[in-house]
Amino acid sequence: MDHFDTDILILGAGGAGLRAAIAAAEAAPDQRVALVSKVYPMRSHTVAAEGGSAGVVQAHDTLDDHFNDTVSGGDWLCEQDVVEYFVSHCTREMIQLEHWGCPWSRKPDGHVNVRAFGGMKIERTWFAADRSGFHILHTLFQTSTKYKSIERFDEYFCVDLLVENGRAQGAVLLCLATGEFCAITARAVVLATGGAGRVFRQNTNGGIVTGDGMALAFRHGVPLRDMEFVQYHPTCMPGSGVLFTEGCRGEGAFLLNKDGYRYLQDYGLGPAEPQPRNKYMELGPRDRLSQAFWQEERKGRTVTTPQGEAAVLLDLRHLGRKRIEERLPLICELARHFMGIDPVDTPIPVRPAVHYTMGGILVGIDTASPLPGLYAAGECSSIGIHGANRLGSNSLAELSVFGRVAGEQAAAFAKGAAAAEIPALLDRARAAEARALGLLNGKGGGERHSVLRKEMADSLEKGCGIYRLGDEMQQACDRLADLRHRYDGITIDDKSRAWNTDWISALELGYQLDVAQAMAHSAIARKESRGAHQRLDGYTQRDDANYLRHSLAHYRKGASPEISYSPVTITRSPPGQRAYGALGEQLEHARKEATHG
C-alpha cells in the first residue's frame, strides 16, 4: 500500500475543506497540507448552492439582528456563543472571498449587493446571480492552487480514519482511477465531507452527498448531534428534487395553491402583501413553508404533476422578464430545460424535498471534536449554529467562517502534536483495506445495493418526513436495522478495481445506513415538536422543560445507536415563541419593550 505522510490532512474539498486548506496554508506555510476529495474539488456539492451567503453589511442592519434571526430560526436549539462568533465573522469572510475574486453581484456604484432571504429580517444575503455556491467554490478552488504547501488527492475515496492511541492520525484512501489503496498519516485531521441528504428519496443534493464523514467519525466514537433535524426545502422540482433557490422568493416570487391563492396567509405567515416583507409569507423560514405545503396537500389544494407528485406553484411572472433573467438565470435554465416551462409566463410547480442536515459531527466552537486531532467543518459538522432549523444562506457563511477556524486550529494542533505513529497506523490501514476488499470480493447473497438504497430512502421519507408519527418512526428504525443486516450480504456485480463505481456506491451505502439510523433514532427519541422536527402524535408542542437539549447519537457496532442529551448554551436570548408574519412582529416589539423598559 502506498503511504504519504503529511502534517494536516483535510478530507473533503468542498467549500469548507478548501477554506480550511487555505487557512492552514496561510497560518502555517511550513506545514504540509493534504487535501482529499472523492471528486475533483469543483464538483463538490457546494457548487449547487444558488441563493447566497449571509453577512451583515447594510447600515440599518446589525449583528444582533443576524444573531436573533439565527437563534429564533433554529428554535433556540443553537449554541449562542457559537452563533455570536459566527455572525461577527461572516462579513469578513465574504469580503475575503471578494478579494479572492468571487464575482458577487454589484450595485450600480460598485459596492456588493445583498438580497432578502427567508427568515432574515433584513437583506444580508450576498449573492452571485443564482450561482453563489458555484462561484464561491470555484473561487476557493482556484485560489487554493496558489499555495504550494497544499497537495491534492483528487478522486480519492476515504474508506476509514486512522485512529491510534485515542488520536486521529490519518486516513485510508481508495484511489478511484486505480482501485488501489493508500494511507495518509498526519498530525491533525479535518473532516469537511458535506451533508447526507441522499439518504432521503426526493432531495436537492448531488449524488456524492452521502454522509461519509459523519459515518466515519461516528464509527470511531464521535457522537452525531441533532441528527433528527433534517431540512426540507419548500421549492424543489417534483420528481428529481432539483432546487429552485430561495432567491426566487427573495426576489419577490409568490407561492400559490391550485386555486391561485397565496395559501401561506392561512398558516400564520400573513398578511399577504403584494411585496412580501422579510419574515412574512413567502419569506418565512423553510420548515414553516414546507409544513404549510403538507397541510395544503392534505386539504387537496395542490396540483398534480405529470410525475404524479403533488405540487404548489412558484409564481415569478409579476417580476417581469428582465428581472427574472438577470437575477435568476439558472432558474430560467432549469425550468425551461428540465421542465419545459418558461417562468416568465408560467408558474413553476414545486414541492418540498430534503435539502440540508442540520446535525452532524459534534464539535466545539473551535471545530474540535471530542476525538483529539479530529476537526470538522461545514455541513458534516454540528457546531451548533443551526439548531432545529437552518436559515437559508447561513450555511455558505458557516463553511467560510468555520472552514477557516478548522484550518487554523488543525494547523495549531499539528504544530504541537507528536509525529504520527506510522507503523501502528499502517497496520490499521491494512486492516481497513482488507475490510473494503472483503465487501468487494465477498460472495454475498446476491442482493444488489441499489435495492437497499431505495428501501432506505423510502423508509426515511415515510418515517422522518415533514411531519412525524411515533409508529412510523419506529417502522423506519426497524427497517433500517433490517437493511443494516442485509447490507452484510450484498453482492457487487463488478469485481474489477479501476474506476469501480459499483463498489464505491456500496461503500457509500454503508455510510448512509449509519447516518440514517442516527437520524431515525434521534427523531423517535425527541418527544416534542421543534423546528424541522414536527410530530403529530401528541407531541405537537415545543417542550423546553425536557427537550431544550441537543440529542447525541452514539455508535454501537452491530446495534442501533444509543441516544443521549447535552445542554444548550444560552447566553442572551432566552427561548421565546417562534413566530413569523404579523405575530412575529408583535412579539419582537414586546421583547424590545421589555428589554428597554
Binding site: 482511477a177 486505480t178 482501485g179 478495481r497 479501476a498
Partner: protein
C-alpha cells in the same frame, strides 16, 4: 501493478471531412479561393503590362465558360469567406461594453457585413460609372 490502462483513441485522419467539421474545412478552403483570385488579378494586370494583344487575350479568356465557372466559384468563395470572417471577428476582440452591457456578437457581425456590402457596392458602382 495497477489495473489502470487509459485507452487513447486516435483522432481520425479524416476528421476535417466529417459532418461536424465540414463547415470549418470549407471556410478554410474559401480562403484559398482568395489567393487564387489574387493570381487572376495578377494575370490581368500583367496582360496590360504586356500590351494590347495580351490584354485582348485576357479579356477574351474572361468570357470563356471556364473563366465564368471559375469566377462563379470564386464569387461563392468570397461570399463564404466574408460571411465567416465577420462571424469570427467578434471572437477575436474583447467584449464590447456599451452602457454597462455587452454588445451582442451578432450586432458586431451584422454591422461588419453591412460595411462590407457598402464597400463592394462602391466598387461595383465605381466600375459601372
Amino acid at each position: 501493478m495497477s489495473e489502470r490502462r487509459p485507452y487513447v483513441r486516435r483522432q481520425s485522419r479524416l476528421w476535417w471531412a466529417s459532418r461536424t467539421y465540414r463547415g470549418y474545412t470549407l471556410r478554410e478552403l474559401s480562403g484559398v479561393g482568395v489567393a487564387v483570385y489574387g493570381a487572376v488579378l495578377l494575370a490581368g494586370l500583367d496582360s496590360v503590362r504586356r500590351g494590347p494583344d495580351a490584354y485582348a487575350a485576357f479579356v477574351g479568356w474572361l468570357s470563356t465558360p471556364v473563366a465564368i465557372v471559375l469566377h462563379l466559384v470564386l464569387l461563392a468563395a468570397m461570399l463564404l469567406h466574408g460571411l465567416t470572417w465577420f462571424q469570427t471577428l467578434p471572437k477575436t476582440m474583447p467584449r464590447l461594453i456599451v452602457g454597462g452591457q455587452a454588445v451582442p456578437q451578432k450586432t458586431i457581425t451584422n454591422a461588419a457585413i453591412g460595411l462590407a456590402m457598402l464597400c463592394s457596392l462602391a466598387l461595383v458602382i465605381g466600375a459601372l460609372s
